[in-house]
């Protein structure tokens, strides 16, 4: 099932699977709107700190930079998995997918650590509109990543059970789309929330 250069990737060969991929793109558009709304709320609330800390007082760039590198790397590994799948190398596809989900898990655990640290210091989202906006925006991204990990686990299971069927190739492709999307959202989070935050 090698895929000669110039023909369509396997996930598009079947029209029906192609329709599903378009559906997923449209879903991502709605998710863009969801994040856009949350970003708008955050940007308005950024200076509404009440008696709580300002962004510069609670953001630490070190762990956030680590999270960024981990997530960017995972975006690379999911592409390696997709690449392997297109060359019909099942084991390699599964391997890179597992690497991706482990990276995702370490990203989420770092984020949870940061959140716990803030909350233990007394900075809950009850304290100010800024903290409500911050935890919700970053937390929504984090829960998307968590959902993605769950999806990757199921996908790994399906690849192990059924191999590289047309449906599985399409699922891997849509998962990669989803994962790249979360990566792009993170870039915006990193710049708008953290970088802009420590500079004020």
């Amino acid at each position: 099932m090698n895929n000669p250069i110039g023909s369509l990737p396997a996930e598009f060969e079947n029209t029906h699977e192609g329709v599903k991929i378009l559906g997923f793109w449209v879903f991502l558009a709605t998710d863009v709107m969801l994040f856009a709304s949350l970003f708008a709320v955050y940007v308005v609330y950024r200076s509404r700190v009440a008696l709580g800390p300002t962004p510069a007082q609670i953001f630490a760039l070190g762990p956030v930079l680590a999270e960024t590198l981990i997530l960017l790397t995972s975006s690379f590994t999911v592409s390696l998995s997709l690449y392997a799948a297109r060359q019909s190398r099942l084991k390699s596809a599964i391997g890179w997918l597992v690497v991706t989900l482990l990276l995702g898990a370490s990203f989420v655990s770092l984020e949870i650590r940061e959140f716990v640290k803030d909350v233990l210091a007394g900075h809950t989202w009850h304290q100010s509109a800024f903290l409500s906006g911050f935890f919700t925006l970053v937390g929504t991204h984090g829960s998307h990543v968590t959902f993605g990990i769950g999806w990757a686990v199921l996908l790994t299971l399906e690849l192990v059970l059924r191999g590289l069927t047309v449906a599985n190739r399409r699922k891997l492709f849509t998962f990669a789309l989803y994962w790249h999307f979360l990566d792009i959202v993170w870039i915006f989070l990193f710049s708008v929330v953290y970088l802009a935050g420590v500079m004020t």
């Binding site: 709605t30 709320v41 308005v44 100010s128 509109a129 409500s132 999806w151 699922k171």
Partner: protein, 659 residues
């Protein structure tokens, strides 16, 4: 008795749900549910219900379920409306207490918009769109069933609030700070947030589904500019849903975080910002009113040509105006709160963009009139609703332009003028359109027509009642009556106009009762539609038998022009839709699945847990959702194949095979 038990009873049945009328309704509903269950058991219909309806993924059946549910919700919202009007018929009437009055207008608005109008046109999309574009189903049949069941259980969640725990009372747009825990500590508001969230997920899924269906599954030859206008309206409505619902999800979600988890988004303390909610809500809310009206525009664009026997005048202009309205609808939301204090520059921008929308809408009005001009008009029931719509919507649109004038709006804001305006466009536009569409496609759904004579009476009562109800409200608004008043003192000169309005509302109620009678009577004395084309229609759905077989088209038609079926009839080529025995192919159809209803039940259980802050139950529901999704993802055997003999036999029985 133990204290926790008393606590539970108090939580589930606070004083506001123990009013005699509510208890009476509870008993009535319980008895009807028991009667239905008894009938199903006695007639051994449970298996039939499960196989044919509860697990179906057929878009035509899902459409029928949507429309039945919408009619039930129209009844519920209508009863709320009659209660509101009864309270206001004379000054200082105390038919209800203020708290109950607040609950009734809140549920009236929410039910009518989210659980009547939207599912009604989702139903018509489901019934008509795939047939109009020559498709065998929607792009994602299973997702379609998920959308329906999420809506159904969202609606159920919202409706049980009045007998368990208490209804929401913060109005259909539920502004903070009144919707916050501090001022609204009961569970009613939680019901509102979760019911809308659950059904909103379903609406987004419907938007995705129909957008992809229309873009990808059209019959060969049907280019975008050859699509029927109703399909265009479904396309732009889907687009609007996709970009409008996520901000609503956020607005509701953040309110929920405030109420249930102690966040500070819209609270007065901790620098929360109630106006942020208003902005988020109306970034959704204004596109939403176009989501409600576009399908009606689409329906009228089918009804007018059919009953005038002329092609639609200005097809391109109709399409462009739909797209223009879609685009402009995102730039008008601030007109809901000019009083926020954003300053004259911002207000004038939003005022002008609002007025601009009158231009494409006016273009559509003229095009419908020019389509009728010189046509051979038949005054069948769908056409009557259309003719009633034209003057009604013109008045409603004109009062909308009045409201868009910023300086004047400071006077109209929150008065009965606004109430009159939006009922004028939503009832006179959306509801007239939906009922027109219901009468129009009814034979396609069930195979029999609705009785014309009774249909005319229903229209006559509803239309007359409508004008009598809402025209006086413009004047009440100008005389200073504000919306949401639970009662008013005598001596303000409002009594006569209010009495007229209430009488009008009851006349509309009679119209609805005749409509229900019309359906029941026509079911008992069916006038069968044997041709599949009872109205001498123009588009592809009328080339099929009524009702269409599960796979819709045994042969996918080829389309060469607009109004494809009409053109085939003109050229005498109608035999082209029939099958030759050697042309039969096997057809893939999706299998029924219990997954959608299980997913929706899990959402329902989890939501109840959230409403009452029973964490174990919320977690249980969440696990159910995960399990249903995982099951759906791992199941790979989702289609079945109809073999050629079955297809041929079905088509033979329908008389659609060449000898």
């Amino acid at each position: 008795m133990r204290p926790w038990f008393i606590h539970l009873i108090k939580l589930l049945f606070p004083p506001q749900v123990l009013l005699p009328d509510i208890v009476g309704i509870d008993i009535g509903l319980t008895l009807s549910a028991l009667a239905i269950a008894l009938y199903l058991t006695k007639a051994r219909r449970w298996g039939w219900l499960w196989r044919e309806w509860l697990t179906t993924v057929d878009h035509k059946r899902i459409g029928i379920m949507y429309i039945i549910a919408a009619l039930i919700m129209l009844f519920r919202g209508g009863v709320d409306a009659l209660m509101i009007r009864s309270q206001l018929i004379v000054p200082e009437a105390h038919f209800m207490g203020a708290q109950q009055y607040d609950e009734v207008f809140t549920t009236h608005g929410t039910v009518m918009i989210f659980f009547m109008a939207m599912p009604f046109f989702f139903g018509l999309f489901n019934v008509a769109v795939p047939l109009m574009i020559g498709a065998r189903d929607v792009a994602f049949p299973r997702l379609n069933a998920i959308s329906f069941w999420l809506f159904a259980f969202g609606a159920a969640l919202f409706n049980i609030s009045f007998s368990i725990g208490g209804s929401p009372s913060a109005g259909w747009f539920s502004y903070p700070p009144y919707s916050e825990l501090q001022f609204n500590p009961g569970v009613g508001e939680n019901y509102y947030l979760l019911a809308l969230q659950v059904s909103g997920i379903g609406s987004i899924a419907t938007g995705i589904n129909f957008l992809v269906t229309i873009l990808k599954l059209r019959a060969p030859g049907m280019t975008l500019m050859k699509m029927p206008l109703f399909v265009w309206s479904a396309l732009v409505t889907s687009t609007l849903i996709l970009f409008a619902f996520p901000p609503l999800t956020v607005a509701l979600g953040l309110t929920m975080l405030d109420r249930l988890f102690g966040a500070s988004f819209f609270t007065l303390a901790h620098e929360g910002m109630p106006m942020m909610y208003a902005n988020l809500f109306w970034i959704f809310g204004h596109p939403e009113v176009y989501i409600l009206i576009m399908p009606a525009f689409g329906i009228f664009s089918e009804v007018v040509p059919t009953f005038s026997r002329k092609p639609l005048f200005g097809y391109e202009a109709m399409v462009i105006s739909l797209l223009a309205i879609t685009f402009l609808s995102y730039g008008v939301w601030v007109h809901h709160f000019f009083e926020m204090g954003a300053g004259p520059g911002v207000n004038v921008f939003f005022g002008l963009s609002t007025m601009l929308i009158a231009i494409p809408t006016g273009v559509k009005m003229f095009n419908w009139l020019f389509t009728m001009w010189g046509g051979r008009i038949r005054l069948s029931v769908p056409m009557l609703w259309q003719l009633g719509f034209i003057p009604t919507f013109v008045v409603g649109g004109a009062s909308g332009v009045m409201l868009a004038a910023v300086a004047a709006d400071y006077q109209y804001h929150n008065s009965y003028f606004v109430i009159a305006h939006f009922h004028n466009v939503i009832v006179g536009g959306t509801v007239f359109g939906l009922l027109s569409g219901m009468y129009y496609w009814w034979p396609k759904m069930f195979g029999w027509k609705l009785n014309e004579r009774q249909g005319r009476w229903a229209f006559a009562f509803f239309f007359t009642g409508f004008w009598l109800t809402f025209m006086p409200q413009y004047f009440l608004g100008l005389e200073g009556m504000t919306r949401r008043m639970a009662s008013y003192p005598p001596g303000l000169g409002w009594g006569g106009l209010n009495a007229m309005s209430t009488i009008g509302a009851f006349i509309m109620g009679v119209g609805f009762a005749i409509l229900v009678y019309n359906i029941a009577w026509s079911r008992m004395h069916p006038e069968w539609d044997t041709t599949g084309d009872p109205w001498d229609g123009r588009t592809l759905e009328w080339s099929l038998p009524s009702p269409a077989p599960a796979y819709n088209f045994a042969r996918i038609p080829e389309v060469h022009e607009r109004d494809a079926w009409w053109a085939m009839k003109q050229r005498g080529e109608t035999d082209a839709v029939k099958l030759s025995p050697d042309q039969v192919e096997p057809i893939h159809v999706p299998k029924n699945t219990p997954m959608p209803i299980c997913l929706a039940v899990s959402f329902f259980v989890g939501s109840i847990g959230m409403v009452f802050a029973w964490h174990w139950m919320a977690i249980l529901g969440g696990l159910g959702v995960v399990a249903a999704l995982a099951y759906g993802s791992l199941e790979d055997d989702t289609d079945r194949e109809l073999d050629p003999t079955t297809v041929l036999n079905t088509e033979k029985r329908l008389g659609r095979v060449h000898p």
